[in-house]
């Protein structure tokens, strides 16, 4: 599997230089809000370079690595080993980022020009909400993988994601309610975002309930896979339908990030982004802990578990 190092060909520089130019031009002329633009353009460029090296230049190595990675992830034994190596780093990373982000947001970032200090709830609220949303998306993708390729690890992952996702959704709802009190004058509004987060919370509960109701783990896993896949379509439709519904009845103008995009001052954006990434890593930590437990339990009769526990 060792590929002899080939010299980087000249036309690579040509194409990547052109790509860089296009990226810069996009960045300059694009009308999107600034932080989104930066992330998208830089991320897109890096991804395209990765894709070039992987899929175009060294396709053989790329596919081999992908297939091997997929198989290792799909095999409980390898997953247990790799996740055990990864876990301490993830714990350190998430703990560090959350500590820095939350303390920075609470004590060091400036207050909001209209809301004063109450806006500081954003540093917990937005990471929790986006984590809950991304968690459901991940669950839906795992559902697809488990239904199409019958991959055991994907079923286990769904079971592991649901509890933490539900907790994040609950945290987003509670902190949002507390934030709403000083800002809007009420704990609860049937705003599009709040309503869809509430539905998301219910859908997490549904997946957990279905998991618990079916005794056979394989069957429970596949049932939850189908439900989370159907749920993903629902989450998208609910998001739009509630928006529409409000354009019929009352304003969804209270939402924080409207269609016009958000403009957050860098002194507030930095801690927000840091605590967001901290939350994502914490999500990974929680999912890995639960997945490892479940894997050990499901594979308890196999030899490798006995060796691990010894």
């Amino acid at each position: 599997m060792t590929e002899t190092a080939r010299p980087v060909p000249g036309h690579f520089y040509l194409w990547s230089g052109l790509g860089l130019l296009v990226a810069v031009a996009l960045y300059v002329f694009w009308q999107a809000p600034q932080p989104n633009r930066t992330v998208l353009v830089v991320g897109g460029y890096l991804l395209s370079v990765l894709f070039y090296f992987g899929a175009v230049r060294y396709p053989h190595w790329y596919w081999q690595a992908l297939v091997r990675w997929y198989h290792q992830l799909g095999s409980p034994r390898h997953f247990y080993r790799i996740s055990g190596v990864l876990l301490p780093y993830l714990v350190a990373l998430s703990g560090g980022l959350l500590l820095v982000g939350l303390i920075w947001g609470l004590a060091f970032s400036p207050p909001h020009h209209e809301q004063g200090n109450s806006y500081r709830i954003i540093y917990l609220h937005v990471p929790a909400a986006s984590g809950a949303m991304m968690g459901y998306m991940a669950m839906g993708i795992c559902g697809l993988v488990s239904l199409v390729w019958r991959m055991k690890m994907a079923e286990v992952a769904i079971k592991a994601i649901a509890p933490f996702g539900a907790t994040l959704a609950a945290v987003a709802l509670i902190t949002g309610a507390i934030w709403g009190r000083p800002t809007w004058g009420t704990y609860w509004i049937w705003d599009a975002r709040l309503t869809s987060m509430l539905i998301l919370f219910f859908m997490y509960l549904g997946v957990m309930g279905l998991q618990n109701a079916i005794a056979d783990p394989r069957q429970a896993g596949r049932a939850a896979s189908l439900l989370s896949l159907v749920g993903i379509i629902n989450v998208v439709i609910v998001r739009y339908s509630v928006d529409w519904w409000h354009s019929l009845h009352q304003g969804s103008s209270m939402s924080i990030f409207g269609a016009g995009g958000s403009q957050i001052h860098p002194s507030m954006l930095a801690p927000l982004l840091i605590s967001m990434f901290g939350t994502y890593f914490l999500f990974a930590v929680a999912v890995l802990i639960r997945t490892r437990t479940e894997v050990l339990w499901r594979e308890r009769r196999s030899r490798w578990v006995k060796e691990v526990l010894r």
Binding site: P110, P111, H112, H113, E114, Y119, I122, T183, W184, G185, W244, S247, L248, H249, Q250, G251, S253, M254, S255, I256, F257, G258, G260, G261, S262, Q263, I264, H265, S267, M268, L269
Partner: protein, 149 residues
């Protein structure tokens, strides 16, 4: 083609037709006038139907807010720079309601100059900045400081 294959093909074609129908219906729905949100310019130019319930939005014109001393009645003009009209409302205004700020009102357009609101919502500003930055922007006469709609 054997019958099982044929049946499968028919089912898949049927499902595709269903999805295509759904997309077509959605496109039809989007092309219709769903949005009931009107800007002051549309109201003044007569695009907004008089006598119907709708939602309007704009900036509160400086110095036009008049509160009734005895009751909760209040009136103010809203504008988007291209036109303005008067909103009449009875009730408690939200905390973020200010002159020069964006508002959204639900109610009925009685005439092209008179909107009777049943609900007034302060437009929550989408910008997040510290007060010093806001002051600096205002001093520089930056339009964003006035609060977008």
């Amino acid at each position: 083609m054997n019958p099982v294959r044929k049946q499968r093909l028919l089912i898949v074609l049927g499902a595709f037709a269903g999805v295509a129908l759904a997309v077509g219906l959605l496109l039809y729905a989007i092309s219709g006038n769903i949005n009931l949100f009107y800007t002051p310019q549309q109201v003044v130019s007569g695009e907004a139907p008089v006598g119907q319930r709708m939602r309007v939005g704009g900036l509160v014109v400086d110095g036009t807010v008049r509160r009734d001393a005895e009751s909760l009645k209040v009136q103010f003009d809203i504008t988007d720079g291209a036109g303005s009209f008067t909103v009449y409302y009875q009730g408690i205004l939200p905390d973020l309601f200010r002159e020069g700020q964006g508002v959204v009102a639900n109610g009925t357009l009685v005439s092209q100059q008179r909107f009777e609101a049943t609900e007034v919502l302060a437009k929550h500003d989408e910008t997040y900045m510290p007060p010093e930055v806001q002051d600096a922007l205002e001093r520089a006469g930056h339009p964003a400081a006035a609060g977008g709609v």
